[in-house]
């Protein structure tokens, strides 16, 4: 009798765990009636910074110029959670994503679920991309389809236990995958900036500190964080940031456009690639991002860069 009860409890626990960790996906009914537009999708591509991770490195260095359009993957991100390798997202049917349906692409981008049902690791910033409009994601797919095919097999990530258990990401997503706005605004320009910065631009993924299991601490939004893929610290870009507090909205927009700070220093580190991508957006969008950054709450950076909460 006792044994039966224990077994029933165990079975219930397994069912709950299965439910908690199961992939949550969109269906075809969730796709809007929208004709994918590759020209609009190119801007989404640059806003999203896809090339920064998925362009195949050249001679061990990040791709530049037209090589940014060769999305064969292979870039390595060496993080405390393990070694991630950016996959091939070129239109190759065999080694890229050429065989994916539009729905599969949208589910990958916005739900972090692969066509075979596995969860993606959040090193792929779908927690930000979830905030994009589905139409923008569809446009992006249309643009990616126009890029060159790259035949290249990228080895899988090398992740240590417990992070190696992909089902665990399902539970993580229940806590951390939230498509709602972080800092909402009723101002039209700021709201456009928010859409770009919190969504495709995924600024928070590097500039916001993470908790013990890698979830973004949204109450410390954009206040700076240890660099997960190397040394140093990713700057605080809230109005409390030590380097940028006195930058005007115009200064920020100009920096994103030209790569030069108001002091005529140049953009550095991993921001070089981000700035180069963003410079392809219309100036009005860069102004919007700048307006958003001026509007977010000023939060001081955590004093101990190793601090985890």
């Amino acid at each position: 009798m006792k044994k039966t009860k224990a077994l029933t409890l165990l079975a219930a626990a397994v069912l709950v765990a299965a439910w908690v960790t199961s992939p949550q996906t969109l269906s075809n009914d969730d796709l809007p009636d929208h004709a994918p537009d590759a020209v609009a999708g190119e801007l989404v591509f640059w806003a999203g910074g896809c090339a920064s991770c998925h362009a195949t490195p050249v001679d061990g260095r990040r791709a530049k110029g037209d090589n940014k359009l060769l999305l064969g993957g292979g870039l390595e991100l060496d993080t405390p959670f393990g070694l991630f390798r950016a996959p091939n997202i070129s239109p190759s049917v065999t080694t890229g994503i050429g065989s994916w349906s539009m729905l599969e692409f949208v589910n990958a981008m916005q739900r972090g679920v692969a066509p075979d049902g596995r969860h993606y690791y959040p090193s792929f910033p779908y927690t930000s991309y979830a905030r994009m409009s589905v139409a923008d994601v569809m446009d992006l797919r249309a643009y990616l389809d126009t890029l060159p095919i790259v035949e290249q097999v990228v080895p899988d990530h090398s992740i240590a236990f417990p992070y190696s258990v992909r089902r665990g990401i399902g539970a993580w997503k229940r806590l951390n995958l939230d498509a709602s706005a972080v800092i909402e605004s009723s101002d039209e320009l700021v709201e456009r900036g928010r859409y770009l910065a919190e969504g495709a631009g995924h600024c928070g993924e590097c500039h916001t500190p993470r908790g013990r299991f890698g979830g973004l601490l949204t109450d410390r939004w954009l206040s700076g964080a240890p660099n997960l893929d190397g040394d140093g610290y990713i700057p605080n870009i809230t109005p409390a940031g030590k380097n940028t507090a006195d930058w005007s909205q115009r200064n920020i927009a100009r920096y994103l456009e030209s790569g030069f700070t108001p002091d005529f220093d140049t953009v550095g580190g991993s921001m070089v690639a981000v700035q180069e991508n963003l410079s392809k957006l219309p100036l009005s969008d860069l102004e919007a991002i700048a307006a958003y950054l001026k509007s977010v709450p000023a939060v001081a950076r955590e004093t101990d860069s190793n601090e985890e909460t």
Binding site: G232, G259, F260, D263, F264, T266, V267, G268
Partner: protein, 146 residues
């Protein structure tokens, strides 16, 4: 203009005198040259290009000449054993690439001086590549500070 060039000339002479002594000094000098002379010349030039300051041909030329002197010497300030600061290891690993980036700076600066732009509209197409050369080199050969 003459005064600034003279101070750089003194600086370079000092450098040559010291270059064989300690690599720390070279590292400090190249840092000073960038942070003070080059940045000092870039600020008024950039402000004019951005329309934040009235165009002044004499100031433009002064800045460009400061660049020209700096560009002639800066590449020699990275001898073996002087690694450190914000200098990327790539300078020593890929000396040819670094020299090419330096050459780009020299060429762009020389072309802008030769053009001697009289107006902001004339300046934009020739001074833009000079700033482009800054960025081009920093992207690969300078590392981020904390």
């Amino acid at each position: 203009m003459r005064k600034q060039s003279a101070s750089i000339f003194t600086f370079v002479t000092l450098l040559l005198a010291l270059v064989a002594t300690a690599s720390d000094d070279v590292a400090e000098m190249r840092h000073d040259l960038m942070e003070n002379d080059v940045r000092g010349a870039a600020k008024p030039l950039g402000a004019m290009l951005n329309g934040d300051r009235d165009y002044d041909q004499a100031v433009v030329l002064e800045s460009l000449e400061t660049f020209a002197i700096a560009a002639d010497t800066f590449g020699d300030m990275f001898p073996e054993g002087s690694e450190g600061g914000r200098a990327a290891a790539a300078i020593w690993e890929d000396r040819a690439g670094f020299e090419a980036a330096m050459q780009k700076w020299r060429d762009a600066t020389a072309a802008a001086i030769a053009a001697n732009p009289a107006t902001l509209e004339d300046a934009k197409p020739v001074v833009g590549p000079v700033f482009g050369a800054c960025k081009n080199c920093h992207d690969t050969y300078r590392i981020e500070e904390d």
